[in-house]
Symmetry: C2
DNA sequence: CCCACCCATGGAAGCGCTTCCACCACAAGG
DNA sequence: CCTTGTGGTGGAAGCGCTTCCATGGGTGGG
């Protein structure tokens, strides 16, 4: 039990000011650190606030400062199902943790591919303090009014059209292909992500370049980041190009799906076909054989993006996080 | 591109009122549906709002109505690491989706086991519209002041001390043990969750009861829901009771960890030892062999809890969701 | 010794919304 | 015809905070 006088009104800034013997204006300045305030008052006010268990009213503050009370994670995709993607869950969790530290909430929203206006509408909502974009489309970005541009920061497997934080998946794809080739593989196929995603196209381009350099035939089939599609894509690959000796999937989920399908089909992994993924999700380590993959520092990326949004930092150039190779048994 | 006059102030209720030729008071009443308003005004105001693209300022509304702007998902645990648990991620995602539909944000907070006061402080934060509790401790619940009780709803693998939504893991554990016994297993060990969790104790009790009924020796070691601990716990079990022929873990992550450890140790699964989990996470289907487990409808549970919080529904008795057995190859 | 300057402070005006209350017109009952 | 309702409406007072602006008491330079 806690010693709470049970019928007390919760403390407001006015109470704190009275307790500290200053005006609300001064109390506000002392507490927020904005504007002048002597050290003496600063500590006195802080003490009063602690004493009274004062917690600032986020809505009132937002109203007065004309800033939003929450940031939204907006995810582009064909269906609302993208919100169920574990990748999105990681972004959301990291964003929420970052935001919680500054006492702002987080929402998720699906940005339908077919309705580019949604993002514009979101950007006009004054309740929103910032937007973390995941995989937005160009048309959607174009739909946000100039005036609202300042409030937006971007992130993710997504665009480079706005300041963003992203993993360098071009380099990762290249390194992975090189590793497979170094291991003696000569027929390296790729399961991509959805083709409308710029990041898919970048990774695909890197794959094509690496394949050309190693003189291996390009073999790519489109995927959608799901395990189910990974399985069917692997089957498709083996049917079309039976001599394939390695499969690289954009996304561990797809890679694990492919791995499962191959094993069920009696293919030896990595004996007959090597399998590699992308993201290094927890389960990559648990599969049998362990999945070779490259890391995707989603948490760092999401945290960086959320921090940038919350600080309203000046838009810089896209920031690329490095991805490192994780060697396990599947390749 | 969207046709937005680029330098326009966003519409406020005052603009809507002027456009509709009524006062702000009337506009507010017409829009919210609270208080009297003639049908004519109601439609006129609605039209004006649509025309102007008016979206109510959530913070201002929250300030005026003294209601919160976001709901927080509060997770009890030893370390802040609990926030990384995939289970929590699922709860968070589902809550965020539900909340987004009503335009409220969501935060996550860690409730340290050693600081029961944190929840009380949370409950006093006027910015918070509701709290979804995950695994709160009794002392923490006791620390929330009476006055704030009305704002709380609870959920999860957690408590039954407040109105809650939970999976019936007692029944699930019983069913799983019975299934293992029916399959001829006689030495069924269990890897539990953290012992301070009521849900762990309930599942453990169910296991003990089922074991007693089937005359099998009780063998339980504590776990923590992680894959790593699952692996070490399995090793511990096999060292202490070498004749164990089945392991049931509370949580698929632990089960998969155990499965991996057993295979690496050269144990045949399910030949020598059967393995079963709990939760039916995506990866349960992808492991080799596929993991036998029981479902945990987290999304439904979280959605139900979030809805209850948002609607401020009268606290009812704890609601139990059924768990169904998913038979795969590991048991 | 005075003036200019500066820093710390308090008063007060909002931010956009809800809601209490007084008000008005009109209908029905005495 | 006057009273007593009644439902629709507008005025205005906040909700708790930030911030502009004016004010005051200090310091240093002239």
């Amino acid at each position: 039990m806690v010693a709470h006088p049970s019928r007390r009104r919760e403390a407001t800034l006015e109470d704190v000011a009275r307790e500290a013997g200053v005006s609300v204006a001064t109390a506000s300045r002392a507490l927020t650190g904005r504007g002048p305030a002597s050290n003496a008052t600063r500590t006195r006010v802080a003490a009063a606030a602690r004493e009274l268990g004062y917690v600032p009213h986020a809505a009132a503050r937002a109203l007065a400062t004309r800033s939003g009370t929450h940031v939204v994670v907006a995810v582009g995709g064909h269906t609302a199902h993208v919100l169920d993607d574990p990748y999105v869950a990681r972004v959301l969790t990291a964003t929420a943790r970052t935001a919680a530290a500054r006492d702002v909430g987080v929402s998720v929203r699906w940005l339908p591919l077919h309705d580019p206006g949604e993002l514009g509408r979101l950007a006009e909502d004054r309740g929103i303090g910032g937007i973390v974009l995941v995989n937005p489309t160009r048309p959607a970005l174009a739909a946000v009014p100039r005036a609202a541009r300042g409030r937006i920061a971007a992130i993710g497997i997504g665009t480079r059209d706005v300041p963003s934080f992203d993993v360098d998946n071009g380099a990762a794809a290249t390194r992975l292909v090189e590793h497979l080739v170094a291991g003696g593989r000569r027929r390296v196929a790729m399961i991509t992500g959805p083709l409308w995603l710029p990041c898919t196209r970048r990774a695909l381009a890197a794959y094509h370049r690496a394949a050309a350099e190693s003189a291996i035939p390009p073999r790519a089939v489109p995927g959608d980041f799901t395990a189910a599609r990974g399985g069917s894509a692997a089957a498709e690959i083996m049917a079309r190009w039976p001599d394939t000796d390695a499969i690289f999937a954009l996304g561990d989920l797809s890679a694990l799906g492919a791995l499962g399908a191959l094993r069920r089909a009696g293919v030896d992994v990595p004996g007959d076909v090597a399998v590699a993924g992308f993201d290094d999700i927890d389960f990559a380590a648990l599969s049998d054989p362990g999945l070779t993959t490259t890391t995707n520092p989603v948490e760092a990326i999401a945290t960086g993006a959320a921090t940038a949004v919350l600080d309203r930092r000046a838009p810089g150039p896209p920031t690329l996080y490095p991805s490192t190779l994780v060697l396990r048994d599947s390749a």
